[in-house]
């Protein structure tokens, strides 16, 4: 793609360098490889879009994954499921081979850019001014005029015309002959690099986020409670109030959490988190993600010692019945208590409104000790302990994120768009002119432009030709042959 001129003494290279590295380099300079990689990645992403992807929580536990697989067998059939699983197609975006493809693409882009750098540099910071006669004759777009003045004067006129057409002009004069080179938007050549390297930058941004980013997508805080954020931070969050509003037609209108952010127990920020307006503190952002109900429970021993006093978030759903459910443990009693609320929006025969159903299990054996319903506000004896379901409350589910890579992503995105716009909308245009005195004292003026043949270049050449022609005509030139857009 690049025409390399004569090169001074090539240093001696080892077999390894010329053969292996050289070949690898050459392999990665190929646009054909780029096409293959792009199509392969496209196919992979398509597979990941069409097939159900196992959520991370499922993937991390083999038992859950096996269960998940048996469920999708229902959709895809037993054998296809085995095949898809074998190729990791239920987890495309996190597999090694997908990352390998992205890695190869990155290397491809970098090598390709480096390889083209010199050639592009030479087209921008130029370039040859004097071209051969053959070049002018064979250029795709060319024009010829004959003028009654010396070459220098003609060149001044041509230059004026080109400047009017907003071209940057350089000249090189010899006796009886002036060569001109004119171009515009030359820096757009770098649009190729900008748009390609922005892709590398985007991938870099995801890597930075993956290494230094922190996140807890399901950080639950019940009303009135303060919880540590964890993730190695010294922050905690208190939920003062959660509000959900609905339109009269039914759909949700607003979800908001009034929260206080504390650092080492001291309030550092206070505000309202909404779906489209997170709260941030020190690079950590708090987003409204979900919400649900809690059951405020009090558990005491027979002699009045408090074992539990607080809200239990019912953040899960039972598989059968779709009831909100949550749990807490009574460590000293070696018990685990599951609390189940009524199914929303209808009369639930198992859990009537105003009641909570509890199931008490032994932590060690997992055996069910008791299952019963609690009525709000009354103390009840369950397995020798006093349980009270005090009232219902709310919890908020926040998504807590810190991603230092995200700024890289936005910068890269801006570069991508800028690069593409440069590439497509302010194309580099190059044009050569020659003013040569003929034996009869007249001067022959030639114009030539290079580029892919399309109607835009055709129109551009026509525009330049008219500009230059106008200047030349003012000086009694004869327009000998103008060939905007014709192949010669």
């Amino acid at each position: 793609m690049e025409t390399v001129g004569s090169q001074a003494r090539v240093p001696q290279r080892t077999y390894w360098e010329t053969r292996v590295l050289g070949r690898m380099w050459h392999f990665f300079t190929s646009v054909r490889l780029a096409l293959v990689l792009i199509l392969a990645i496209t196919a992979a992403v398509l597979a990941g879009t069409l097939l159900d992807q196992a959520p991370p929580s499922v993937r991390s536990e083999p038992a859950m994954y096996a269960q998940w697989l048996s469920r999708v067998e229902g959709t895809y059939g037993v054998f296809p499921t085995k095949v898809f699983d074998f190729f990791d197609l239920f987890n495309v975006f996190h597999t090694l081979w997908f990352r390998l493809l992205l890695g190869l693409l990155t290397v491809n882009i970098i090598v390709c850019s480096l390889n083209r750098w010199k050639g592009i540099w030479r087209t921008v910071f130029p370039p040859r001014i004097r071209m051969t006669d053959a070049f002018f004759q064979h250029a795709r777009f060319n024009a010829r005029y004959v003028m009654d003045e010396p070459a220098e004067a003609a060149a001044v006129t041509v230059k004026k015309g080109l400047k009017h057409a907003r071209y940057r002009v350089s000249t090189e004069a010899e006796a009886g002959s002036v060569a001109l080179y004119a171009d515009r938007n030359r820096f757009s050549r770098f649009g190729t690099f900008i748009s390609h390297l922005s892709l590398v930058l985007i991938l870099a941004g995801t890597v930075v986020g993956g290494i230094w980013g922190l996140s807890d997508p399901e950080f639950i805080v019940p009303e009135g409670i303060t919880r540590d954020v964890g993730l190695g931070t010294d922050l905690s969050v208190q939920l003062e109030h959660f509000t959900d509003e609905y339109y009269v037609e039914g759909p949700p209108k607003d979800f908001r959490s009034d929260i206080v952010i504390l650092k080492n127990g001291e309030e550092v920020k206070r505000g309202t988190v909404r779906v489209n307006s997170p709260l941030s503190y020190g690079g950590m952002k708090f987003h409204q993600s979900f919400f649900g109900q809690t059951a405020v429970m009090i558990v005491k021993t027979k002699d009045g010692t408090s074992l539990y006093d607080g809200p239990v978030p019912l953040a899960w759903q039972t598989r059968e019945g779709n009831r909100p459910v949550g749990s807490f443990t009574l460590g000293s009693e070696n018990l685990e208590v599951w609390v189940m609320g009524p199914r929303s929006g209808e009369n639930d025969p198992l859990v009537p409104a105003g009641e909570m159903r509890i199931e008490v299990y032994e932590t060690s054996s997992g055996a069910l000790r008791t299952a019963t319903n609690l009525t709000q506000g009354t103390e009840q004896d369950v397995s020798g302990l006093n349980f009270t379901f005090v009232r219902e409350g709310r919890f908020t589910g926040l998504s807590v994120v810190k991603d230092p890579g995200v700024n890289i992503i936005w910068v890269a995105s801006a570069l991508m768009i800028i690069g593409l716009l440069m590439l497509f909308y302010v194309p580099h245009r190059r044009l050569w002119a020659s003013c040569k005195e003929l034996p009869d004292g007249k001067t022959e003026v030639r114009l030539a432009m290079t580029g892919q043949r399309d109607s835009q270049i055709t129109a551009e050449f026509e525009r330049v030709r008219q500009r230059v022609g106008k200047e030349l005509r003012g000086r009694h030139a004869e327009d000998d042959r103008g060939q905007g857009g014709n192949d010669v």
């Binding site: 975006f93 759909p251 209108k253 593409l420 399309d454 109607s455």
Partner: protein
């Protein structure tokens, strides 16, 4: 305002259908004229018939410009009535898609004077409108995630621009593949069709990139994750990559021409898949 939006929608549909008929007449009519003049030995009658065909084409264009105008009016009226841009349900989005396709198509028709391209793009826009008329058009209030009116309006405007450009590219590719070596007189030359296809991608590719970026910005604000491999996100990435493939195929020997044109067809299939993805993919973008 809501009624204004409904009436202009109907007007757009009628104008588009009528325009399409005139396009058919003006593109295929000349063959009829030639057959006629062959039979009758060529007379004044056929001449006046040919000029009538030209007029038909001109009126076809006027009708499709009108259809575009009605669509614009319909979208604006609905925007005013609903208080937000056309991004909250499939009805609004289909209208916007038809609008994008018509707008970009008309630009190309003006630039290249090719009504045969309209034979492919107009039915796509009309199909969108017919589809829109089968889904509920009542205005629903915005759920919290969609309460991001400016960003989402721009997101959708940019997206339908991209989809519209890809529809034009699809049309150009189909005609390119029909126009084999043996030249068909009712079709533009292959070089022109190739150029139209490429230029549509020049418009669509950056717009699609911007669509994805704006979507990522929204996701970052709303959920704190700019990318979560959500099906709609991945589908638009597939579309974008497909056209990225096309742009490279065009500079590789052996891939220019037919193969590149097939990539344009695949790209448009991916576009349609992205558009209808809500239905069978679910995820964050399912409007319910």
């Amino acid at each position: 305002m809501f009624e204004v939006s409904q009436y202009t929608f109907l007007a757009a549909m009628v104008a588009l259908a009528a325009g399409l008929v005139l396009y058919l007449v003006s593109v295929f009519g000349p063959r009829g004229v030639r057959a006629l003049s062959f039979n009758t030995g060529g007379t004044q009658e056929t001449d006046s018939f040919a000029s009538a065909l030209k007029t038909a084409g001109r009126y076809g264009t006027i009708l499709s410009v009108n259809a575009f105008g009605f669509l614009t009016a319909s979208i604006i009226a609905r925007w005013i009535a609903a208080g937000h841009g056309p991004f909250s349900n499939m009805y609004e989005f289909s209208l916007a898609f038809a609008w994008g396709a018509m707008g970009i198509y008309l630009y190309f028709e003006r630039q290249y004077d090719l009504r045969s391209l309209g034979l492919l793009v107009l039915p796509i826009a009309l199909g969108m409108l017919i589809y829109a008329s089968t889904v509920p058009d009542d205005i629903q209030p915005l759920v919290p995630a969609l309460q991001q009116s400016l960003l989402l309006s721009v997101h959708v405007a940019v997206a339908v621009g991209a989809y519209g450009a890809f529809a034009v590219g699809f049309g150009a590719a189909v005609l390119f593949l029909i126009q084999r070596k043996k030249s068909m007189s009712w079709l533009p030359e292959r070089t022109t069709l190739d150029e139209v296809g490429y230029r549509s991608v020049m418009i669509g590719f950056p717009l699609m990139a911007l669509t994805i970026i704006l979507g990522a910005i929204w996701a970052d604000i709303a959920w704190g994750r700019y990318w979560s491999w959500d099906p709609k996100e991945t589908a638009s990435l597939v579309t974008w990559l497909m056209y990225g493939g096309y742009l490279h195929a065009r500079v590789i020997r052996g891939w220019r021409g037919d193969r590149s044109a097939y990539l344009l067809l695949l790209g448009f299939a991916a576009t349609a898949f992205t558009y209808y993805g809500n239905y069978f993919l679910g995820g964050l973008h399912s409007y319910g």
